[in-house]
Symmetry: C2
Subunit: 459 residues, 2 copies
């Protein structure tokens, strides 16, 4: 019986991959009670089955793949994390994979194929029927991460001179219309899109109206070479549900729908967050060894940075010997500047990603960051100077610390916006490279300026 409560629970437990289910499934796989295992996974959506695969240990993962191989739904692959996807593809094998891919729409099949390594990609393509292979091979010629790789070739389009009833008849009967679409695109005789009509609005029109009078002429066309981040921005900015993709001659070659954009947005956000901390985007599901290696790399950069700082400090050993309070106080100058600089880096990286930072407001942002940096530097110089004067009873020491703070926090603000902007201009990912570069400068400068001023004025 369906009481309000359990209906509510049902709605909350969309996530088929509950801990209980995974446990029951593992037990069934372990005991080789395969019919029971099949019953357990039968009601799961491909996305949930992907979750289950991600959460199983490798030995059970292999057993589960064996179980689903006969009716393998390739859509599962599109929901898998990269490292688990590779494992599952290897288990499935070329022939079964190719057979499964033939059933997908071109964009979904492509998103599996484009990530395969060269040899495997060629093998899989060879096993796919000629007609579908031709489409996939053509799409593979578009640059990675471009709109061409995101689009599906199947589009609903009609000529400008049709009436609403012509269009309706076409959509009702033609075999060429994709299984799922939200807008019908209107094309001129050169096959260039000139307008669009949402399907829901089409229903409201009188049947003898020319489609040209119904369509919206303000059309957001996506060039086939546009970067997928840019595509996501256009969709978000203008609230689009689908958009036509055009080639260099402005001809309609495909369509991008919002569900692909949602995936791109999630990926890009994960990438930015992870890269800011020096982690690869697939870190969470990666095996221990892969995680260990990528994290080691970033920590090694941290080590080089810290070694520079150690070198700077060791140049002032005699100064510190004479005034040990310097050793206790020196982390302040670097920690404050490092954190304040990372704030600026983070807001800059995000503003670049969301297209909020543009040439039009770059100068203003620079001025703002440096003002805020100076204000905070001054304020903290006063606070910390007063406290350290009380604690260490030395006006000179307070002045030196305050001076070092102001200089270093102003520098951190300047570098915090300058570094990601420059790295982005060079065509590199600002998130990936801005952090350690910044911290190296704030650490080395922080120690050098504080200890340098101290050795000049206090010793």
């Amino acid at each position: 019986m369906s009481t309000p409560e359990n209906e509510q629970n049902q709605a909350h437990s969309f996530y088929g991959a509950s801990a209980d289910l995974v446990k029951a499934l593992m037990y069934a796989l372990h005991e080789e009670t395969l019919d029971h295992a099949r019953t357990l996974i039968a009601p799961l959506h491909a996305a949930d089955l992907a979750d289950v695969l991600e959460n199983l240990q490798p030995e059970y993962r292999a057993k589960l793949v064996e179980l689903i191989r006969p009716h393998f739904d390739p859509d599962i692959l599109n929901h898998l994390d990269d490292s688990v996807k590779d494992e599952v593809i290897e288990l499935i094998g070329t022939q079964d994979l190719a057979a499964a891919l033939s059933d997908l729409e071109s964009d979904d099949a492509l998103s599996v194929i484009e990530d395969l390594d060269q040899t495997l990609q060629r093998e899989v393509l060879r096993a796919i029927p000629a007609e579908e292979r031709a489409i996939l091979e053509e799409v593979l010629t578009y640059p990675e991460d471009s709109a061409g790789r995101m689009m599906q070739r199947e589009v609903a389009y009609v000529p400008t001179f049709w009436t609403v009833s012509d269009v309706m008849a076409h959509l009702t009967k033609s075999q060429d219309v994709p299984a799922s679409f939200y807008d019908v695109f209107v094309v001129n005789p050169k096959h260039q899109p000139v307008g669009s009509v949402p399907v829901c609005r089409l229903l409201k029109q009188k049947s003898d109206t020319p489609i040209e009078q119904v369509m919206e002429a303000e059309l957001y066309k996506i060039p086939v070479t546009m970067d997928k981040e840019e595509v996501a921005h256009v969709f978000h900015h203008y609230g689009l549900v689908s958009a036509p993709v055009i080639d260099t001659s402005n001809r309609l070659v495909g369509m991008i729908t919002v569900d692909d954009v949602v995936s791109v947005m999630e990926e890009e956000a994960t990438e930015d967050i992870m890269h800011l901390a020096g982690i690869s985007e697939s870190d969470f599901h990666a095996p221990i060894s892969a995680t260990f290696i990528t994290r080691f790399r970033w920590l090694f950069v941290t080590l080089i940075n810290t070694a520079l700082a150690v070198f700077v400090i060791s140049q002032f050993q005699h100064t510190i010997e004479k005034l040990v309070a310097l050793a206790a106080l020196m982390p302040i100058a670097t920690a404050m500047a490092g954190n304040s600089g990372m704030q600026v880096v983070t807001v800059t990286v995000r503003a670049i990603a969301t297209r909020d930072l543009r040439p039009a407001n770059l100068l203003r942002s620079f001025r703002k960051e440096i003002s805020v940096g100076l204000m905070n530097g001054l304020l903290f110089a006063v606070i910390i100077g007063l406290v350290s004067a009380l604690f260490f009873k030395s006006l000179g020491l307070s002045l030196v610390l305050g001076g070092a703070l102001i200089f270093n926090m102003a520098w951190a603000s300047f570098a915090g916006i300058m570094l990601p902007v420059t790295i982005h201009k060079m065509g590199l990912d600002p998130a990936l490279s801005a952090g350690p570069l910044l911290t190296t400068t704030t650490d080395v400068l922080g120690f050098a300026v504080f200890l340098g001023l101290a050795s000049l004025f206090l010793i």
Copy 2:
């Protein structure tokens, strides 16, 4: 004439708010050539006009708002950053704002109204016609950040016993159908949704087929109280374009569409990234004073943290006086652990946000993080121990540093996953609180363990 190149350029310059346009507009506003200013902004989409408003200095912003007031498009407000939105709303005034809001769909009007402060909200609501006000006031009773606040009340729904042609006739003629929709929901006599049909698929059906045979019964219903982050996850996970919203009696009360979800995803990603660095999500467009205050707050937390570290170090002044190399080496133990811990915090915060981290795999994640932490700790202990032995010619010093590194990096890994998970369980935002807590422990422990071991074994 439309050459391929300038078509391509046109497609690339969707962003009407180019630096040149902003410059020309500022000049026109400055010179009070208002007709020219009107011509400049006329072709802009609401989203682009919002960009322009964000990028103008406050004085020009006020002039531009005066200019667009007579035909103010309230959709502009939904594209504005919070701090600029408040400013524009104040300039527009209650009466004009209420008039403009009456034209929006309920979800879009609500997203403006819900952010107003209590007094202003009441004033604006009073100025809105009674019928629309009733809907808005009802929606405002749903919890903030819930599905109820995201949904629109206007839904296309039909009873189970209709045929395809009944449905088509309804969609074609009824005034109750929303302006834009992608799925028609099928409801039982209790007004509970039991299935859905995408509009594009409806066209392909024979007209005498009962809608019950056409509909998809696997329906992802959104409870009206579901958190909007959860809603975004369900949409992304199952690739939905629209979903029915249900009340506690499982009755259909509204619909959420994917464009709202795209906004939520972008907001949540920005929030996570910003909070990890201790910045408010609207930092980029906030005025200098607001940015100064929020950043000051976080830096003050950093200061407290650093003050604890300073206190710990100052307890070991005598140890450092006897062996100044300790002062030079001590940043290593804290920097390595701090960075390694922030990696774990970042991956954990993101995995919580994307629902990749669940009770089902929590234990496994713990084990993984601690293994990786220990492996990196051991490896860096060896590398750094060897280098410092060569440089400072003291085996004891190397052993002490290595030991401190292993301990502190293992602790950082444990705390890096434990802190965000615990804070999330307490119903707080893990991104907001995990960073400074972690760094405080790694700094204080790092200095204490390294200097403590040194004073025990080396002095």
